[in-house]
């Protein structure tokens, strides 16, 4: 960790000195960047998030958490290609998981291609980087239903006011990956999830309509994924904000489909976002008698509102109008979000059970209120304070069985370049 911080500081200082010089060598181009030639660049980026957390009641989570430490490069290879590579750094200061690793062909706006490992086109919040989200944590639906990163290839572009993305991926996203060890019978072939298809369209649908100008910037999007899921305890699962399972995986086999809708509107210093998404997973031959079960359904949604009380425009890459030490206090944003994630079976006939092969599953859901204050004293530095209130439908399946509601809070220090 110390090495990472030291490297970051050295790079920042040297790049800052070169920012005003000619566009060759190490320059400051939004981040420390080595410019080899026109349109051949290598930018260095880093992200660091340190959290201090409190829980009521205590759920035995650490008070301190190194939430994010990443280092990466991104840049251009001629005007036709761009690239990005980013990797996690763990608490011990060694490299962890790869994040984005892709090459992008961008010659035309109408049709572009991306190949490598990157986020599948599903979910507004999921496709917003962890240092750009309005709150410290994404909504549960964005974390657990939206697929996240995967290896694949995607075609995308802008057709007038319509933005489209469609890709084929190896699995079905990192968020749906199994983390638990699975018991495998001798000779049993452990199939992987996927391949999967994902697509999304986005447009400012109101732009063509006779509505007030402020409303014309409202953006709407619709997304869909489809993947094959092999037999096993492979369903999506319910995980509370701090990671405790409130709905364990069930046996599935067959198709997993996701549908999602998103709304994003940022008039002036305010922002209003909402998403709904649902996954339906088939359970072919999964009953105690090897018969088909009804689909397993995971649904989630959120609505959030934010307001820069210091007047910054929400649309911009946030830059405090009056930074600290330059006559101001920086930028301050207030926000509130309500989100919900629920898991259930399509069947509601007979007695409900919690067993992973029951046709009628005992439903459970987690409803979360998040109240936030973000302070950006200077560009690239952000202090996020969130208060989180969770309530569960089934009190026997919560972080502390028998307790249905939980308060938690965190203060996050975030550095980005």
């Amino acid at each position: 960790m110390r090495k990472f911080l030291l490297t970051a500081i050295v790079v920042l200082v040297s790049a800052a000195g070169a920012a005003a010089q000619d566009k060759r060598g190490l320059v400051w181009d939004d981040r420390p960047t080595i410019v080899f030639a026109e349109d051949v660049t290598l930018g260095i980026r880093g992200r660091l998030q340190l959290d201090w957390r409190q829980f009521e009641p205590d759920i035995e989570e650490d008070t301190f958490d190194l939430r994010t430490a990443r280092i990466g490069i991104q840049g251009d290879l001629t005007r036709h290609f761009s690239y990005e590579m980013e990797r996690e750094i763990d608490r011990e200061g060694t490299f962890g998981d790869w994040k984005d690793v892709y090459l992008n062909w961008k010659t035309f706006d109408r049709i572009r291609l991306k190949g490598g490992r990157f986020k599948m086109p599903f979910g507004l919040e999921q496709n917003t980087g962890p240092t750009e989200t309005d709150f410290a944590y994404r909504s549960l639906a964005s974390t657990l239903i939206a697929p996240g990163r995967d290896r694949g290839a995607m075609i995308y572009g802008e057709l007038g006011r319509l933005v489209y993305e469609a890709g084929i991926f190896d699995d079905d996203g990192a968020n749906a990956e199994l983390e638990e060890e699975r018991f495998v019978l001798e000779g049993e072939d452990l199939e992987g999830v996927g391949p999967s298809f994902a697509g999304r369209v986005q447009a400012d649908l109101l732009r063509a309509l006779p509505v007030p100008n402020r409303l014309k910037g409202a953006n709407f999007g619709f997304a869909y994924t489809n993947a094959y899921v092999p037999e096993g305890l492979n369903s999506l699962k319910g995980e509370a904000v701090w990671g405790a399972d409130f709905f364990e995986r069930v046996y599935v086999k067959g198709r997993r489909q996701r549908m999602g809708a998103q709304f994003d509107w940022t008039p002036g210093p305010t922002g209003l976002k909402a998403e709904w998404m649902q996954s339906r997973e088939q359970r072919l031959n999964q009953s105690n008698r090897n018969e088909d079960l009804s689909d397993f359904i995971t649904s989630g949604w959120y609505v959030s509102g934010t307001w820069f009380i210091t007047g910054e425009d929400k649309d911009d890459n946030i830059n405090p109008r009056q930074p600290l030490f330059q006559g101001g206090i920086g930028a301050v944003e207030l926000g509130v979000r309500f989100d919900e994630l629920g898991l259930r079976s399509a069947s509601t006939e007979g007695t409900a059970f919690t067993n992973p092969r029951a046709d009628y599953q005992v439903p459970n859901s987690d409803r979360v209120w998040t109240f936030g204050v973000s302070w950006m004293p200077i560009r690239r530095v952000r202090v996020v304070t969130n208060a989180i209130y969770e309530t569960f439908e089934d009190t026997s399946r919560t972080p502390i069985p028998g307790t249905s509601s939980f308060w938690s809070g965190l203060v996050r220090l975030q550095l980005v370049f």
Binding site: F183, L185, E186, E231, Y251, Q286, S287, N288, R289, N290, G350, T351, A352, F353, T354, N355, P356, R357, A358, V362, S396
Partner: protein, 411 residues
Amino acid sequence: MRLIARCLFAVAVVVCMAGGAVAQTADDFFNPDVLQRVDMWMHSTDWDKLKAAFQENTYYPADVTWNGQTVYNVGIRSRGLGSRSGTKPGLRVDVDRYSKDLTFLGLKSFVLDNLTQDKSGVRETVAMRFFTRMGIPTPRETHTRLYVNGNYAGLYALVESVDKTMMGRVFGSIGDNVQNDGYLFEYNYVIGRPWRFEYEGSALGPYKQSFDIKTNESKGDSAIWGPIEELVRLVNSTAAASFQQTVGARLDLPAFVRYIAVQNFVAQNDGFNGYDGMNNFYFYRLENSTSHVFIAWDEDNAFLSPDFQITTRLGDNVLTRNTLQVPAFNSQYYSVLLEAATSASDWLQQETQRQLGMIAAAMQEDTLKPYSNAEHAADRDTMLAFAPARVTYVRCEVAKVVGTTLPAGCS
């Protein structure tokens, strides 16, 4: 008139049919006179995985059918210590595993004992019936053919779980209050650490390890294990003169003496005074009381031999030794042995014979058992010979110890 006659006839038929469909109970399920048939339906992969990972306690869902009644989505796992098997798994059936209010005939769970350590197939069930006959708290048991997904999975003993439901059955009610809210413990034999009731110190850790709490789990450690530490301490430190008064307030001593005497009579070598320390029992602190009682469990090592000494290891275990130092309990111990001999004299062999007859075909057809039919036949003969020889041996040995006239047949 003809219409009225038809109506009356129809009503009579309905009444007769309804009368035939008598509601079935847990007593019917554990009826020792009936070889039951239990059908279990599990996903084929789950059954394979349960057998392959039989050393683990992973639960799998299943449907269970008995006598036309099906309970859906129960939880099943492999169970046992030395009896665990990947070919013929011992099974624990938790009816309420996936729906907390679900019961089957009022039961929240039951056990399917695979009989892998009992070549006769009846050691456990005969011993338990004898314990019941001698007034010792004992789970109900019978035999069953088990079918999994329509295939015969072998002959099993169907055993009532020692749980709150059984405590209610055994200890009854006071007014409307069922006496099953006490503290129930399963004794946990720790491999490599034989324990004979020596005091382990004031820290609760060792008692917590040996007595696995089954009810009132949410209570504090001192409420759960504190009284056990106190009991062990007092058993180890109380002088004989005040033993009955001091320890008797915390342990039903007459019931304890009866329990160890009957266990000796059936020549159980792996029980309370077992060859490697204590083993195979439940322990119950009665509701709103400081007093504890022993509950019999897992007697499939009984009937070791007819000449199993009546004083076997009586001096090894601190509780046994100190209790029997009290003259009244020493006298009671031998009285219970004689009472057991009288109770067993005709009954034990007849019961053994009856049970062996009841399971004969099911045992022969069980190809998954870890012993041959010839081995079963040999053990069957051993079991049948046990009762008359044991009765004579015990009567003779008791007479020698207490100094009365030797009965006929003594050597």
